[in-house]
């Protein structure tokens, strides 16, 4: 104690954790006595230690829904008891919000790495050192694959298709090491269920499991399946740019950057070899490619040259260099004030177009997390609809299109908790919008050429600008 004092520290200092004493306890745990379950976890953990030799990468996968039920488990090596998830539940409880559950949780004998998507936790169990991003990236790939297979990735869908899910997982990992993660290959190995196929299968007794070799896996272009045939050959490219921005109180831009992607939907017969060139490729500052793109060609000529996968894929994602000033297409005028004396606050926001290059701004939605002191809001929008959830304090206003002649606005009052002091900060406004036929960076595709096949494909390019993480501080 004296020593602690002598170093000039208040005893039991605890490194500044002072503010967390009032932590909320979330949902009563449905797994009964927490202490008991931990105990159980310990025992099995110890058991598994006995059989612990070396092991590889991903050991097991658990899928956990938002109410904390494990609804699917898959093991690639010896079975790891479910009870290992108790450590996860513990961390989940501590985190209070799903978003805050740490992606890496150490337990005495395992490490739990998780991703949270579509309200499902995908928890991978590993035993030894492994690059955490390796596991996380793989888990995301699993989710993407499910989405690709079933359209949506949700608990009921996964439960309905549990056999396909299992077959897919079996192919994706061997002994915990990724084997086939390319969706083109997987779909050749295990055909995704469609209503038609289910009907056909029940009549003819054929199966979802492909009996042919996934030739792609063995070829130089592992991402493309062979023997592709279409009657209409078409290739569509969507250039989608998102603006990430933080706008401060006075309306000046604190930070703004453009992140773009080119998503492609290519349905071409045979083995087409495509090249895509830009009018102004220097705009692209930092790019990442689908494995099909030839990097050298890009380095030297700034041309995208590739043999595309079949179907939908993301060809490229890019970042527009920070030197270029980013045109901010919308502005928000706001007047949000709380008064100390009264229990009413004023609320007024107006959204208007700024630099839109003559295009219409559509799909505008405004959301804002109001301070806890706000009890309710009575607002009138000049257009669109608005909702305020008094529990989560989330205000959302679906504006729709912005008409420059008549700017949409939302006005009204907020009723505050009586007696409580006024909130000392104003809420942040998050904006969503879409602008069709415009790439805000000015990026333009020059031409698309095809080699290696004789026919003439139909080509289409679409541009779109969206709000990414677009925040206005008030």
């Amino acid at each position: 104690m004296l020593r602690g004092d002598a170093r000039g520290r208040v005893p039991d200092w605890g490194g500044g954790h002072s503010g967390r004493s009032g932590r909320r306890r979330r949902r009563p745990c449905c797994r009964g006595d927490a202490g008991l379950s931990i105990c159980r976890g310990f025992q099995t953990e110890k058991d598994s230690l006995r059989s612990l030799t070396v092991s590889t990468m991903i050991h097991s996968l658990f899928l956990i829904n938002s109410s904390g039920d494990i609804f699917l488990e898959k093991h690639w090596k010896s079975v790891v008891s479910r009870s290992v998830c108790d450590y996860f539940f513990e961390a989940q409880e501590r985190a209070t919000e799903a978003e805050n559950v740490p992606p890496v949780i150490p337990t005495p004998h395992h490490y739990l790495l998780s991703v949270y998507r579509h309200k499902i936790f995908f928890v991978a169990v590993i035993q030894t050192e492994v690059p955490p991003l390796f596991v996380i990236e793989f888990l995301h790939r699993v989710v993407d694959t499910f989405q690709d297979y079933f359209g949506v990735c949700s608990e009921p869908v996964i439960k309905d298709n549990v056999v396909v899910v299992y077959e897919v997982l079996e192919e994706m990992l061997d002994n915990g090491f990724p084997l086939a993660t390319e969706s083109n290959i997987l779909k050749e190995l295990i055909k995704p269920p469609t209503i038609l196929r289910t009907v056909v299968n029940t009549i003819t007794g054929s199966t979802n499991v492909g009996d042919q070799l996934p030739t792609g896996q063995l070829s130089v272009v592992p991402w493309r399946r062979t023997g592709v045939k279409y009657t209409n050959n078409e290739a569509y490219f969507d250039v989608i740019e998102e603006i990430d921005a933080i706008i401060d109180k006075s309306g000046s831009t604190i930070t703004a950057e453009i992140q773009g992607v080119i998503d492609a939907c290519v349905k071409l017969t045979g083995m087409p070899d495509l090249t895509l060139s830009f009018m102004n490729p220097r705009l692209l500052d930092d790019v990442s490619f689908h494995p099909c793109v030839r990097f050298k060609r890009w380095e030297s000529e700034r041309i995208l040259s590739f043999i595309p996968p079949d179907g939908n894929f993301r060809l490229l994602s890019y970042h527009v260099s920070a030197q270029n000033l980013v045109a901010i297409p919308v502005y928000v005028k706001h007047n949000i004030s709380f008064r100390d004396s009264s229990s009413l606050g004023r609320f007024e926001i107006t959204v208007g177009p700024k630099q839109t290059m003559g295009k219409t701004i559509e799909g505008v939605t405004v959301t804002s997390q109001m301070p806890r002191g706000v009890l309710n809001m009575s607002l009138t929008p000049s257009q669109g609809t608005h909702t305020f959830d008094p529990v989560t304090k989330m205000l959302s206003w679906d504006v729709g299109k912005i008409n420059p002649q008549k700017l949409p606005s939302l006005k009204g009052t907020m009723s505050l908790q009586a007696g409580a002091s006024k909130p000392d900060e104003n809420p942040t406004i998050n904006l969503q919008f879409k602008i069709q036929q415009l790439a805000i960076s000015g990026l333009k595709v020059n031409r698309l050429d095809m080699y290696g096949e004789k026919y003439k494909p139909f080509k289409g390019i679409k541009y779109m600008t969206k709000a990414g993480k677009f925040q206005v501080r008030t």
């Binding site: 609804f71 492994v130 079996e170 061997d174 896996q217 060609r297 301070p371 000392d424």
Partner: protein, 1050 residues
Amino acid sequence: MSSNSFAYNEQSGGGEATELGQEATSTISPSGAFGLFSSDMKKNEDLKQMLESNKDSAKLDAMKRIVGMIAKGKNASELFPAVVKNVASKNIEIKKLVYVYLVRYAEEQQDLALLSISTFQRALKDPNQLIRASALRVLSSIRVPIIVPIMMLAIKEASADLSPYVRKNAAHAIQKLYSLDPEQKEMLIEIIEKLLKDKSTLVAGSVVMAFEEVCPDRIDLIHKNYRKLCNLLVDVEEWGQVVIIHMLTRYARTQFVSPWRQGDVLEDNEKDFYDSDEEQKEKADKRKRPYAMDPDHRLLIRNTKPLLQSRNAAVVMAVAQLYWHIAPKSEAGIISKSLVRLLRSSREVQYIVLQNIATMSIQRKGMFEPYLKSFYVRSTDATMIKILKLEILTNLANEANISTLLREFQTYVKSQDKQFAAATIQTIGRCATSITEVSDTCLNGLVCLLSNRDEIVVAESVVVIKKLLQMQPMQHGEIIKHMAKLLDSITVPVARASILWLIGENCERVPKIAPDVLRKTAKSFTSEDDLVKLQILNLGAKLYLTNSKQTKLLTQYILNLGKYDQNYDIRDRTRFIRQLIVPNEKSGALSKYAKKIFLAQKPAPLLESPFKDRDHFQLGTLSHTLNTKATGYLELSNWPEVAPDPSVRNVEVIELAKEWTPAGKAKKENPDKKFYSESEEEEDSSESSSDSESESGSESGEDEEDDRSGDSAEDSGESGSEPEAGKGRAATRSRARGRGDSKDVDKEKENSKTSESSSGESSSIEESSSDSESESESEINLVSTPVALPTPALSPSLIADLEGLNLSATSSVISVSTPVFVPGKTHVLLHRMSGKGLAAHYFFPRQPCIFGDKMVSVQITLNNTTDQKIENIHVGGKKLPMGMQMHVFNPIESLEPAGSITVSMGIDFCDSTQTASFQLCTKDDCFSVNIQPPVGELLLPVAMSEKDFKKEQGMLSGMNETSTTIIAAPQNFASSVILQKIVNVANVGVVPSGQDNIHRFAAKTVHSGSLMLVTVELKEGSTAQLIINTEKTVIGSVLLRELKPVLSQG
């Protein structure tokens, strides 16, 4: 097994009852939670029936439901015998699901799992590479220690397979075998060594993974493959890239000298050295003798660069850590852009990447400074992300950007996320200490926060201000007074304690206020938190020593209160202080020094980044994320003082010329030893990617420049001549592949020859079925190369054609094939009446026996029909005729009432129908039982062509031929009927026949391997000729006798 499954049931029945109840709506378990156990039993019964039915659809349905059970974590282990029977199913989906089941439960039911092994062994020799690969996958996933030798042999063979896909699976299997039986390490290392030499991009990642797993310390295995791995890297699949890059990072740290100059190291230690890297380098250059980078070192750095553009975050991170750990510091800058890009992706990726950036930004601020704004916090970020961003912002703060940052921090302080607001306040404190110019501004800002409404913010501010004041106590009397006033309003204990401590420390500077504060707190002492009470005691003691006139009584009052406090810490402290400060006759020498003890100059606390000590972990690793050493973490070694001999990485010139260069270019390879590796690597890079551009010369060393420009000129010439530039890469590459392969074939031929001979030697020890057949099988594989050709244009139909070709080329070879039909007929071994309740049936599964290749496998099902446990069932004395042998099953410890268990045995009947008699014993009794094999079960089916059949038949004429005439109704001579009847009786294989009226069947005897050829020739009218040719005339005639009535019956 039984205890295991018991525990499992208990868990699923008890702990998860609620969950199961919720899931009950799903298709699989319509039952409620409580009826679960019994209804499960019943359901499993109908699953069993479905599995045993003849219809594939029913079986498939059952398997799907079973997989559903496994997915839910329910126990389906008791279905094992029923499921495992279907392992040889023709339906590929059933088969796959059975594999899923096997891999899950084989460990628990080792004995039964053995039944499936032979199916895989056969599949390992399938001409289809995917079937070979999947057989190896499942075989190696069955964690049954008995089959280790079989696995070993399979891996050995697969590692020499012509298909890279099979070799890839072999590499995976190495790790599985190693975890099953670490004793095999030496043998496995040999295989790894062999596979490391593999040139296929498909194999590279997997074998390096195996290397990391089995023998990460055998760095010597990498030398010869280093350059190849570097060159292949771009084309390896993304997961393999991660593993290879991590391995090569470790390799480089042991093999090359540090590219960081002494000055750089200094920079690391010097905190306030903000010169840019370039300047630093110039200075260092002047000081040091020039440093020349090993060309191999350069090769690695250059070849990984394109991977920074990967879409896979793990790959980008792997490259980033490679640059961080082994590239010259001036070059590491390029990774920051890519890392910042990753911040766009999911929360989890952000979390890991930010952690790594935090560590990097402590050491080299310059790298991330241009991206400062990318780390600005958004209100929608998760708290953990916010705090990590804040950490990085703090690390990046300097005189130039601090004012912007402080403005940004002001917004954060007001955040609704209070945890984040508190972290921001600490951050401001850290900035104040590290950048002295702004410390006053920060302090003022923090003081302003003291009037904030939110208590948490105020408390955190107090704590931070306390730390700041401690560093420069002189000038801040005003602030202390302000804080003393706060004591009235603030309630958070830590903050109150901090204020009290601060006043105590500075009591001589605020002589008027301090006693007053003590007076107030004395009043509220009893209601204070323990933390605050201790500080009140401290304050009292300090004041007593400095200002005893005013505070003597107050302090004594407080000490009295403390004496009777409930907390013993406080009582202890009270006693201690009283002894020390209140002079009495007993007090020792210490009280003289009381003032020195209490009012000593205390060193200021250091406000440090929590990421400060993380840099000793390799970046991008789990250990780095957790900041503790994870199991299996491999330490990154320090640079060696002197580089080990670089020539170990040289590959022999001859081999190289053969591997990499078409004849025309070979002469370039040979010149001047000094440039040798340079030119080779040049050659490699242009060769492996076959892309006709020069490297962007900017990052390459000066001395390479000449060499390079010459090369690129040549290359661009090439590209000019290519009419369709777009086509270039793929075309050339596949050409290169083609070349490589044709050479591979030769080499592989040698390889497989050697491996064959070695496996031949070892086969006798290993009890496996690698006899003459298996060798000739791999001959077939050799012929089937076209399947392995990785040309993308090869359509499946073409492959099928090729396969057809291959089959006809199998020629004059006897190979065991799968049984055409497995009759489900069981024979009674022991009736339950005579066995006192123990019943036993046997059945011939028609699988090659795993216990010995001359044995017939027999499957025995034991049933307990009593109402008591039967214990210790085993085979007692054996009465076997001369030469016969028997491999008994492992004793069964106990059999539950109404339980049943299936075990397998192997019996060598010496190609005779003599009875094998033995005793089946339980704990109390012994029962004599016999197994007499039907002659048809002494055979194994053989696949051969019609031509071979005729040839063999020709050699087995005369004495070796027996024949008879059969008369039956014409409908019995339909080919399907004949086929069905014959395979029902005898385990023979069907020989494709060119004539409609002749049916041919071939088999060999299990013991001696003599051929047994059966011909049914349909004649005019309702007669047929049945002919059997075999050396074993006795068996031949017995078989003839058995077949005749079967065929003639209606």
